[in-house]
């Protein structure tokens, strides 16, 4: 499919009233301004791309010009390729030949630009046949204001040639008739480089048919293997592979409406039908969707996409429809929708699970009660809040408080990253707080003697007098973990105390570092901070109102959690 006047069509769409006036885009090439693209009226007056602007003005003083914007054209082309996803999931933008990229100052031949590939294998019957598909494509694009030439053939090369050089705007090459159909077309339809074309022209060769009739060995020798390869690709003797723009999802269901549809209820009903189709297909292969992408194709404009994820492989249309319910409304303002497609880019084998036998007192088992209802809830919450916001806490083999728990997917079986079932367990009752401050907050604490719990401490400007205390519980850091990841005070040995203040509040506090060897504040690590400590007397002297400067090696206390 080829859009011969894309740059000027892009401009004309912004100003529909002036569509009939001659218009050209201009760009500097070889030291002067040249036309890069012309619209229909300008073409009719004899202007052509590559013509110097001065010549064009001489021919047509009324010519309007605009700067050539290749980036905008490319973006529009990509958008159109997405739009073409309504016909086939396999679309690709034709990339310019490397030579054009190397010398952007030159005006590339118009035929080499602004093409879109569509692989409609197996899609045409959805539109009433190949001819109807082509007609529909052309009609819709024309209604949007784009001149388009499209051809459908068995090989990409033949379609390319027929689209550029065919005698009609839409050409349908009959199966098996490529050679005959291409024979009268000019050699330029073979995507050859300029040198090869020149050489062939000097030999008096004009048509593809003439070239195809020549002996191949001589051709390859005189004009290079590329020429022969292009000919073979066009005629279907050699394969040609083109990478699609987006990965083609393995599972897709689509629906097209005869009239644009805008009512949310209708869209939802259509979506339900799509889900039923897709889920039936997935179920037949014993797979379930983990991720679904819905694409809505409005009559005019860019497709709108949304995606949902699920917590486990699913093939339940009602469940999936409820997940989409949150996502649909923002997509529905604007024009009516005239086609929808539903893709499942990520599926997993869905093995029907045997219902677990209830075991008495099995508190650690994964949730067994009605997993379908719970799964729906988890998916709904996860799709709105974010997948990482709906979790379950699982224990981790670590005595370091911050590392003792980790978050897991709420419905997954308890597993480690390595895939082994975790065997970590939770500590005994009462030993750990209910809430853990992260990070621990520094407090000013006063302890009468080394290795004794503090008598009072100040946290967030409030003084707490300790009524009862328990401890210490000494926890050494995990030296085998990355030591530079935490600040020095956070990777020192800790003495934890459980404190209760006079009001009955219960706290979990710790002193960072050993009493006579507090962690250095400058990041050199606690191994260097040796020597005799005089912190005991000084911290007693500073007393309750101690915003006074502390000695650098005074013990540092932190509040880390709250007990019930």
């Amino acid at each position: 499919m080829w859009l011969p006047r894309l740059p000027t069509d892009r401009l004309a769409r912004a100003e529909p009233r002036r569509r009939s006036e001659p218009l050209a885009t201009v760009r500097a090439a070889r030291g002067r301004l040249c036309l890069a693209a012309v619209n229909g009226p300008a073409d009719a007056c004899g202007l052509f791309p590559g013509q110097p602007l001065a010549d064009a003005r001489a021919l047509l003083p009324a010519l309007r010009t605009a700067p050539d914007r290749p980036a905008a054209d490319a973006a529009l082309l990509a958008e159109l390729a997405d739009w073409c996803g309504r016909y086939s999931p396999w679309t690709s933008v034709e990339t310019p030949a490397p030579a054009d990229m190397a010398a952007p100052a030159d005006i590339p031949p118009n035929a080499a630009r602004h093409g879109i590939w569509l692989d409609v294998t197996g899609c045409a019957h959805l539109f009433g046949g190949e001819a109807a598909l082509l007609a529909d494509l052309r009609r819709r694009l024309a209604a949007m204001g784009y001149a388009v030439r499209a051809a459908l053939a068995e090989t990409p090369g033949a379609a390319w040639a027929a689209a550029r050089h065919g005698d009609r705007a839409t050409v349908l090459l009959p199966p098996g008739g490529i050679e005959a159909a291409l024979a009268p077309l000019p050699l330029a339809g073979l995507r050859l480089d300029a040198d090869a074309l020149d050489g062939l022209a000097r030999l008096g060769l004009r048509r593809i048919g003439e070239l195809a009739a020549l002996p191949r060995a001589g051709l390859a020798r005189r004009f290079g293997a590329a020429t022969v390869a292009r000919l073979d690709q066009a005629l279907g003797r050699a394969p040609e592979s083109i990478a699609p723009r987006r990965p083609v999802p393995p599972h897709r269901a689509r629906i097209a409406f005869p009239e644009p549809v805008g009512r949310p209820e209708d869209i939802a009903r259509a979506l339900h039908r799509l889900l039923e189709t897709l889920c039936a297909r997935l179920a037949a292969r014993r797979r379930g969707a983990r991720r679904l992408t819905l694409t809505l194709y409005p009559g005019d404009g860019a497709p709108r996409r949304t995606a949902i994820g699920t917590s486990r492989p699913l093939a339940d249309p009602d469940h999936l429809l409820r997940l989409f319910a949150e996502k649909l409304p923002p997509l529905l303002d604007g024009d009516g929708i005239d086609a929808m497609a539903l893709d499942a880019p990520f599926t997993e084998a869905a093995v029907p699970r045997q219902a677990a036998l209830p075991r008495a007192g099995d508190g650690e088992a994964a949730p067994a009660a009605d997993p379908a209802a719970l799964g729906l809830l988890v998916d709904r919450l996860g799709n709105r809040l974010g997948r990482d916001k709906v979790v379950r806490l699982i224990p981790r083999d670590s005595h370091w408080p911050e590392r003792a728990q980790t978050a897991a997917a709420p419905l997954a079986a308890p597993r480690k990253a390595s895939g082994r079932t975790t065997n970590a367990t939770w500590p005994a009752a009462g030993a750990r707080p209910l809430r853990l401050l992260s990070p621990p907050e520094p407090i000013e604490a006063m302890a009468p003697l080394p290795d004794q719990p503090p008598l009072l401490f100040r946290w967030r400007k409030r003084l707490h007098r300790v009524a009862r205390a328990e401890g210490p519980e000494r926890l050494a850091p995990e030296w085998w973990r990355d030591p530079a990841a935490a600040p020095p005070a956070m990777r020192a040995t800790r003495d934890y105390y459980r404190l209760e203040d006079r009001d009955g509040r219960r706290f979990w506090v710790f002193r960072a570092g050993l009493y006579d060897r507090p962690p250095a504040a400058d990041g050199t690590g606690d191994a260097n901070a040796t020597g005799e400590s005089t912190a005991t007397g000084e911290s007693n002297a500073t007393g309750e109102t101690s915003p006074a400067p502390r000695p650098a090696d005074a013990p540092r206390w932190f509040l880390h959690g709250f007990f019930a």
């Binding site: 709105r384 030993a431 009862r468 209760e500 019930a564």
Partner: protein, 307 residues
Amino acid sequence: MPRAASSSSLPPAAGPLPAGGGAGMTGTPPAARPGAAHSGAARPGAGAGAGASVGSERPGLAGLRARIARIEGGGGSGGAAPAAGRVLPLGAPELDAALPGGGLALGRLHEIAATDDGAGAGFAAALLARLMAARAAPVLWCQNLSLSANAPLYGPGFAGFGLAPARLVLVLARNDVETLWVLEEALRCPALGAALGEVGRCDLTATRRLQLAAETGGGTAFLLRPPGAALAPTAAATRWRVGALPGPPAAGVGGAEDARWRAELLRCRGGAPDEWPMEWHHETRRFRVAAAPADGPAGTGRAAPAV
């Protein structure tokens, strides 16, 4: 949309009750029951007159309460005084006697106002642990990051309360609005036993929605209000205020026996306000009324370290 449908029925219908539903346990004379139910259904505003006629037959207070409960209570569940299978006994006779039906009503909204972070979380965790043990269903805890972003739940502590973190779905919401949405969604889900949300500000309408959602799904709703939250009127069946309680000087701190609170029942539909010093026993997962409320700090101000 189910949401629209349920909110249209928002004024709780004092409507037709299932015959005998909920009236049996309150001790209302059988003769008075149909009449009371009928007048309540027809003209809720004329309740006082009908109530007086019922009260003239018997001591009457219970009958009156039952009628008020029926008028106030939600549509399908049969009154605020719930049937015996629809309550969660707290395990302490003194507490259960003060609650209508002998425990905390399931499928209702309960509000816990914490005066202290640890105490509120602990009391809520204890309630959820009891509920999890009774119903064998997972529960959901919606943490509100605008209130407690730097003090996340700590699984080891929760596990100590008997609240298996494996069956606790933890949701992190950004603010009150999201928390209320999560709660409503969760309560509509029949697979969950209970849903708790940390909510700073909420109004009567929001709590009514939660109440309706809880009736739909059958789960029990808990609102955990942070210290200092403004306690506007809500549709909650009970409202608790939970604060720290100093323990006896001899006991350890934060040990297995040592979760205790001063729990005030500020408001209770169908019951009277009260206040208890309360203890939680980790092993049996029961509440207890603490033996002797410790008055003030221990004499010396500090006990010797126990370990």
